[in-house]
Assembly symmetry: C2
Homo-oligomer: 107 residues x 2
DNA sequence: ACAACGATGTTAGAAAACCTTACATAAAAA
DNA sequence: TTTTTATGTAAGGTTTTCTAACATCGTTGT
């Protein structure tokens, strides 16, 4: 469980992210400052991104081009995360009920 | 087709590979010298590895610990690649035959 | 209209990461 | 026993990344 796949592992340095996204390092760091993205750090302090981060950055860039401000993008992201969490909970509850009815008994 | 997924994209620098594999940079570069692994390079000359490379490095490390020499590992790899290529060809041929018999006609 | 903010560029200096080459060494192979 | 293999380490140089600061220009708020 908790599928930690390649896609989410933070292993890519900012230079590569620049190449892959076409964004400037300035932009990438700025979006972090605006709390849109959360790289990890090496021991020495260098940023490390995942492929997911790269996809997210490209989504962000698109919205920015469409005139959306970082603040609004952030609000959207928070809203989306809440929705995802609710969905997760609902799913879990239904699972729980199913298990109660039909699951393996421990006695 | 030609599934270029995250797993095969060369985006990871040697320091991260060191952390992920537990190997020293010396070892990682040496295995390249012995033609066991083929990182790409940035414009400036830094090595870039994929997750596949990392898996391969860990396999290599295991064999080395078991006393297998790099030269032998290389021979195995060449042999394996040949086999994979043969299998690919066989599959393709069978596909071709199936298409000839039952495939969509263009007339 | 004008001040404040937002997004980005650029510069500078420092630190981290990476590169190649060379020399050293211990164990294994020839 | 000589050679090769695998690895460590050091030196010196280049690339990459970092933060902080200042500049610019378009947009927003008053």
């Amino acid at each position: 469980m908790a599928q930690e796949s390649y896609k989410d592992k933070k292993v890519i340095t900012i230079g590569i992210v620049r190449e892959l996204t076409g964004l400037s390092e300035r932009q990438i760091r700025y979006y972090e400052e605006r709390k849109l993205i959360f790289p990890e750090r090496t021991a020495g302090g260098s940023r490390k991104y995942s492929f997911s981060d790269i996809e997210l950055l490209m989504d962000i860039a698109e919205k920015i081009e469409d005139g959306v401000q970082t603040y609004e993008i952030r609000q959207e992201m928070i809203k989306d995360k809440k929705k995802a969490e609710e969905a997760r909970l609902r799913k879990k509850m239904i699972q729980g009920q199913l298990n109660a009815q039909f699951g393996v008994r421990k006695i």
